[in-house]
Structures are given as structure tokens and as C-alpha cells.
């Protein structure tokens, strides 16, 4: 899963959002590192809708302009959770090797902290 896709799904994990809201949220989630542009965002949203990972939640007209809200589908939640677990496992493996003495501080997803 591409980082932009992962961050868009993460932005929608907390609730439905419109396009501009997703851009702002992705910027916050990534600490300002990823600034989505409209072309990238809507190409990704269109693909995610086609794949059934997100769906249109509702539409509003604000100042004569269309505002469409997107939400995660059940399949989207499942894929995001799987990707988050994968990234977490990778990060855990890396940190264990970098800090062998702190092995106990990094744990596998789903396991309780020691």
C-alpha cells in the first residue's frame, strides 16, 4: 500500500471527511511531511472507491460548491488494520535490532506489553 493511500485511509478511520479535510488531516498525521495535492488525492479517492475501500458518506453544497464526504468501508477498515499491523511489525523488528537492550520495550502487534 502506498503511503498516500495509507494516510488517506488513516484520515478516514476517525470518521467521514471531505477532500480538503483529508488534505489537512494527512498533513497533521504525517507531521507536515506529506502534503497531498488535489490531483493525487482525487486519483487515490477514485481508485479507493473502485476497490471498495471507501464510499461516499454524504454530499453537501457549501458556498455553491459541492462538498462530498467519504468514509471507510468495512473492507477499508480491514485493509488499514492489516497494513498498520504490517508496518508495526516491521518497525518493531527494526527497533529491536537497533536497540537490542530494549528488546522488551518493543512488542509484536496483538501482544501485551511486558
Amino acid at each position: 500500500m502506498q503511503e498516500a493511500t495509507y494516510l488517506i485511509l488513516t484520515a478516514l478511520a476517525a470518521g467521514s471527511q471531505h477532500g480538503y479535510g483529508i488534505i489537512v488531516d494527512v498533513s497533521e498525521i504525517s507531521g507536515g511531511r506529506v502534503r497531498l495535492r488535489a490531483g493525487t488525492l482525487y486519483t487515490a479517492l477514485d481508485r479507493l472507491r473502485a476497490d471498495g475501500l471507501i464510499a461516499v458518506d454524504r454530499e453537501e453544497i457549501v458556498e455553491n460548491r459541492l462538498r462530498r464526504y467519504y468514509r471507510l468501508t468495512a473492507e477499508g477498515e480491514k485493509r488499514l488494520a492489516a497494513e498498520a499491523a504490517r508496518l508495526h511489525a516491521n518497525a518493531t523488528a527494526a527497533m529491536r535490532r537497533l536497540n537490542p537492550g530494549l528488546a522488551g520495550a518493543w512488542h509484536e502487534p496483538g501482544q501485551g506489553r511486558p
Binding site: 480538503y20 495535492r37 490531483g39 493525487t40 477514485d46 460548491r65
Partner: protein
């Protein structure tokens, strides 16, 4: 006209790069986001935003159609590679035309030989120029699952083989080896695409009952 109206008009021109069906579904919304992201007093789309929109349009247009087998996807990529190869052939032919003519004149003195070489070079140029236009058009048809594009490709492969064969008979291996190599590479790419399109699961993509237009789900076709 207000600054925002000017900016909006320019953004709409950029959004015209996207397929019509995609625009119908998303244009107003994208425009709202673009304008929301614009700076105070901005009248022109920024370079990065413009590049991003064009990149997005290309991605949307190249997106595989539903049910497209991997072999078709690879073949279509090869078609675009072939268009690039045609461009390379054209550049090669034009860049080496002078040296080819003089080499041919040394090897085959006489007016008739010079005319034959010139005619062959013109033929190469026409073929390469056609390829730059025709291959993307065929790729467009192939993306949409059109069987005529597959048949046209097969004819094209045969046509290129004929042209190369004529060139070899006329001694192109001696006086125009670069052109011959470029043409052969182009032919091999086209032949590979052709084999992929006529074998395996590709047939089912091109030979179902007449295809009906599906709702927009990212195909190259709706322009």
C-alpha cells in the same frame, strides 16, 4: 473577471486533461479543493499543482479496465514503449540521414541508388511518425477491450516486418545499421505485445458478448 474566476477557469483547463466521465463525477469537487488550497490573490495554478493534476490525469487514463488480464496490461505497456521506440527511430533516422546517404553513395554509386536510399529514409520517417500516433491509439483501443485494435496490431507487426525486410534487401544492414537495429527493436516489442494479446487469457477480454459501457471506474476510454 475576478481573480478567483480567472484561477477557476485556468484550473478547469487543466482538469480537461481528465477523462470526461471522471470530470463529470469529480470536477466540481476537485475545483472546490483547489480553490480552497489557493493563496490570497492567486490567479494562476502553481507549477507543482499543475504537474500534479496532469500526472493524476495520466494515471486515471492509464488505469486498467475491470477484468483486464495481466497479459493485456503488460501488452499495453509494451505498446507505449513501442511509441517511445518509434520516437527513437524517428530521431535516429533524421539524425543519421546525412551519413547514411553518403555511406550509401560510396557503396552504391549512381543516381538510382541515391534515390532508393532517400525513398527508404522517407519511408522510415513516415513509418516512425505514424507509430508515434498509431501505437497510443491502438493502446487506447486495447485498454477498452476493442478487438479491432488487436487485429490492427497484428497487421502492424506484419507491416513493420515487411518494411524491415525491404530495407535488408536494399542493404540497410550495410549503410544504415542503426536504423535497422532501431526498427528491429521496435518490431520485437510489437511482436511481444501481439503474442501476449493473442494467447492465454487475453482472448476472453476481447471476445465476450458486445461490451456495454460500465459506470465510471477508471478506464482509459472515456475521453
Amino acid at each position: 473577471m475576478s481573480e478567483q474566476a480567472r484561477l477557476e477557469r485556468r484550473y478547469r483547463r487543466l482538469l480537461a486533461c481528465y477523462p470526461r466521465a471522471f470530470r463529470r463525477e469529480n470536477e466540481e469537487e476537485i475545483l472546490a479543493v483547489l480553490l480552497a488550497c489557493a493563496q490570497e490573490g492567486q490567479q494562476r495554478p502553481g507549477l507543482a499543482a499543475s504537474a500534479d493534476l496532469i500526472k493524476g490525469a495520466i494515471q486515471v487514463r492509464l488505469r486498467p479496465a475491470p477484468g483486464q488480464p495481466p497479459s493485456v496490461r503488460i501488452a499495453i505497456r509494451l505498446m507505449f514503449a513501442s511509441a517511445a521506440a518509434h520516437l527513437a527511430v524517428l530521431i535516429t533516422v533524421v539524425a543519421t540521414a546525412g551519413s547514411v546517404r553518403s555511406a550509401a553513395a560510396r557503396s552504391y554509386p549512381g543516381l538510382a541508388a541515391a534515390h532508393t536510399v532517400s525513398a527508404t529514409l522517407v519511408m522510415y520517417c513516415v513509418l516512425a511518425s505514424l507509430g508515434i500516433v498509431v501505437w497510443p491509439l491502438l493502446a487506447w483501443g486495447l485498454l477498452r477491450g476493442r478487438d479491432w485494435a488487436r487485429i490492427a496490431l497484428a497487421w502492424e507487426v506484419a507491416w513493420i516486418a515487411l518494411i524491415i525486410g525491404v530495407g535488408i534487401i536494399q542493404g540497410s544492414a550495410v549503410y544504415a545499421p542503426a536504423n535497422l537495429i532501431a526498427g528491429a527493436v521496435d518490431w520485437l516489442i510489437a511482436l511481444s505485445a501481439c503474442v501476449l494479446l493473442f494467447t492465454g487469457t487475453s482472448g476472453r477480454f476481447y471476445h465476450p458478448e458486445p461490451r456495454t459501457e460500465t459506470p465510471w471506474r477508471g478506464t482509459f476510454g472515456t475521453m
